[in-house]
């Protein structure tokens, strides 16, 4: 069992992990940059150690400093959270070389999954379906020979390339030759290398990920899927489990493939295998994230498995504690960002003068901030995750709507209202969530649907608040000099 764990992260995920440590009877050690002194996660930690230096490279990405703190403070393990150093195989290796436990998969597994081509080859060898496609060494002849086995529509991509150069979509065989010539010409001009790659073009596909968990005792299980298609600026904002597009049969098949993927790299701990799922129910391996994910709570809510606690258990050499897969109800997570959704989702800063989260049944808040905190431009603008669970998807959407309506954040612009409107949007209600959804629905950018009466009401309240100096007296009002204590232990009668 682990005794003292350093959490090499900040914000809400550090809070999440440190709380799990406390519940597991493990001492939690936080590290923090100077500008994170007093942040919520340092308060939840048993010990909080300041990092020297400025900027990410000198602080949260500073492998040497972090490892030294762990050793100097008697830690036996390091949890990297997500982002930062979580997928750095070299750091995992250093941690292990220092005799500490790395709460995550082996450096080899991280490396294999971190390189796209190695991952593809490893998965193919393990029998996990990958997007049909081949690298072409022998020029045009070979492209023409390979194409039928890949299938149409297909995509020609420059092997050396990027940024769309040398990329051509081919919908019918008769266009293959001319398009292939064009692609190779473009590739040669752009990259000095005319090799191309032929891949099936998967249109209208969904991005679906499977959570896996593997311990040291040979048990590798999956915990169902998450659908995370609603994205803005390539970042997820709305995630759910289960997916409306997945039935029990497909879930089993994808789950088995995900477990095969994990086994192929001797995976240990929690990980996520991403798949592309076509409208016809074919699925293909995309990549594996070798860490806990931002959206892990939706899986926790529907499966009843505490993923972070299992990570700690597995790293400590215990068998995982969860029983057979038991998916119940529906969970949705929305990410609360400090950003202005009406202004192309640009990040916002400010002070959280009021921060009043919703409460009640089925509502979970994983927050990195609390009232009074300053939101600075120093870090990612994600402030918190609001997660709801309900027996059915429609009830979960209704509950999320209720919770978002109750959520008060003043002093810093957030995407709360955008998320609220999303919950009522017919495409979301019907489950037609796609990665391009936000651009499709709001091609000219999202603007709040603000009824005139609400705008007028806000104006009235602002002027009344200004006229009455609202909020100014809160502090002094209760600082009265009348002692209350003589009365505080008196008995009372009830009618």
């Amino acid at each position: 069992m682990l005794k003292r764990t350093l959490v090499a992260n900040r914000g809400e995920i550090a809070c999440r992990i440190l709380r799990a440590c406390r519940e597991a009877g493990i001492e939690g050690v936080a590290i923090h940059a100077a500008n994170d002194s007093g942040s919520l996660f340092t308060e939840i930690a048993d010990i909080a150690i300041p990092l020297e230096g400025e900027g990410l490279a000198e602080t949260y990405l500073n492998q040497e400093q972090i490892l030294k703190i762990a050793i100097d403070n008697g830690c036996d393990s390091i949890h990297p959270g997500f982002g930062f150093l979580s997928e750095r195989a070299d750091f995992a290796q250093s941690v292990m070389d220092s005799g500490l436990i790395w709460i995550g998969p082996s450096p080899e597994a991280i490396t294999k999954m971190g390189d796209k081509m190695t991952a593809r080859i490893t998965m193919k060898a393990a029998g996990v379906p990958v997007i049909p496609g081949e690298e072409v060494e022998g020029g045009l002849e070979e492209v023409l020979a390979i194409a039928p086995s890949v299938g149409y529509p297909l995509l020609l991509k420059a092997t050396a390339g990027g940024g769309g150069k040398g990329m051509r979509a081919v919908y019918e065989e008769e266009n293959l030759e001319s398009e292939a010539k064009a692609a190779m010409r473009e590739a040669l001009n752009a990259f000095g290398d005319d090799r191309v790659y032929v891949e099936r073009l998967l249109t209208g596909s969904r991005h679906i990920e499977i959570q896996v968990l593997a311990d040291k005792y040979g048990r590798t299980i999956h915990l169902g899927e998450r659908e995370c298609s609603v994205q803005r600026r390539h970042q997820k904002v709305f995630e759910e489990s289960p997916s409306v597009a997945i039935d029990a049969e497909l879930r089993n098949a994808m789950g088995e493939a995900a477990c095969d993927a994990a086994r192929a790299v001797d995976y240990e701990g929690a990980g996520t295998v991403e798949f592309l799922v076509t409208p016809t129910g074919e699925f293909f391996f995309l990549e594996m994230n070798t860490r806990i994910q931002v959206e892990h709570p939706v899986t926790e809510m529907v499966t009843g498995v505490d993923l972070v606690r299992e990570q700690l258990r597995i790293a400590g050499g215990e068998a995982m504690s969860c029983g057979p897969l038991n998916i119940r109800g529906h969970a949705i997570e929305v990410r609360l960002y400090a950003e202005d959704p009406a202004n192309n989702f640009l990040p916002a800063i400010g002070q959280l003068k009021r921060f009043i989260p919703p409460t009640g049944p089925g509502v979970r808040l994983d927050t990195g901030v609390r009232e009074g905190d300053a939101v600075t431009p120093d870090y990612d603008p994600m402030l918190a995750k609001l997660i709801v669970w309900a027996p059915s998807r429609i009830e979960a959407l209704q509950r999320m709507g209720r919770a978002l309506d109750e959520f008060v954040v003043l002093g810093c612009t957030t995407n709360i209202r955008f998320l609220r409107e999303l919950c009522d949007h017919p495409d979301v209600v019907d489950g037609w969530t796609t990665t391009d959804m936000i651009d499709r629905l709001w091609p000219d950018g999202w603007k709040p649907d603000l009824p005139t009466i609400i705008a007028d009401a806000g104006l009235l309240i602002a002027s009344a608040a200004e006229s009455t100096n609202h909020g100014k007296k809160i502090a002094s009002k209760s600082g009265t000099s009348e002692p209350l204590s003589p009365f505080s232990t008196l008995s009372r009668r009830y009618p």
Binding site: G411, T413, P448, L460, A462, S463, E466, S467, T468, N469
Partner: protein, 148 residues
């Protein structure tokens, strides 16, 4: 009272009876809490002032109103000068006891990868300086104060 909002300038002169403000059928009851009445239904609202801007949460909407012309309560007579955003002090241009004129630059701070000058809002004498160059400051931190 005049406000600036994201869709232009707005004027409002509500009818006031004590802590009750009325405007075109809308009623705001002020107190420790704010209650808004629309069509006979009451809704809780929350408001907080940041700088010259009132933030208001009502019926699931969060709105901002920047004061252009203040109301009865008047503007703050706060003589302190505060950091408009989190950042780092680059330079302190004055010293305690020094006379300054409205518009004089007092400090330079870096925030959002840009430099910003902190300038005197009125003539006066520098009372106190709370930060030195190199210090990190949070948003709203009082940087220095001027006595008229």
């Amino acid at each position: 009272m005049k406000f600036k909002t994201s869709d232009g300038r707005k004027d409002i002169e509500p009818q006031r009876e004590g802590l009750v403000f009325i405007h075109e059928g809308l009623i705001a009851q002020m107190g420790d809490e704010i209650w808004l009445e629309i069509d006979g239904r009451k809704h809780k609202a929350t408001a907080a002032k940041v700088g010259d801007t009132w933030w208001v949460h009502v019926l699931g909407h969060t709105l901002q109103y920047e004061i252009v012309e203040a109301g009865a309560a008047g503007a703050d007579d706060d003589s302190g000068l505060t950091a408009p955003m989190p950042g780092k002090i680059l330079d302190v241009l004055v010293s305690v006891g020094q006379s300054v004129k409205a518009g004089d630059a007092l400090m330079v701070m870096e925030a959002m990868k840009m430099e910003h000058k902190i300038v005197a809002g009125h003539d006066g004498i520098v009372d106190a300086i709370h930060y030195n160059s190199g210090d990190q400051v949070i948003q709203g931190a009082e940087l220095l104060s001027i006595h008229e």
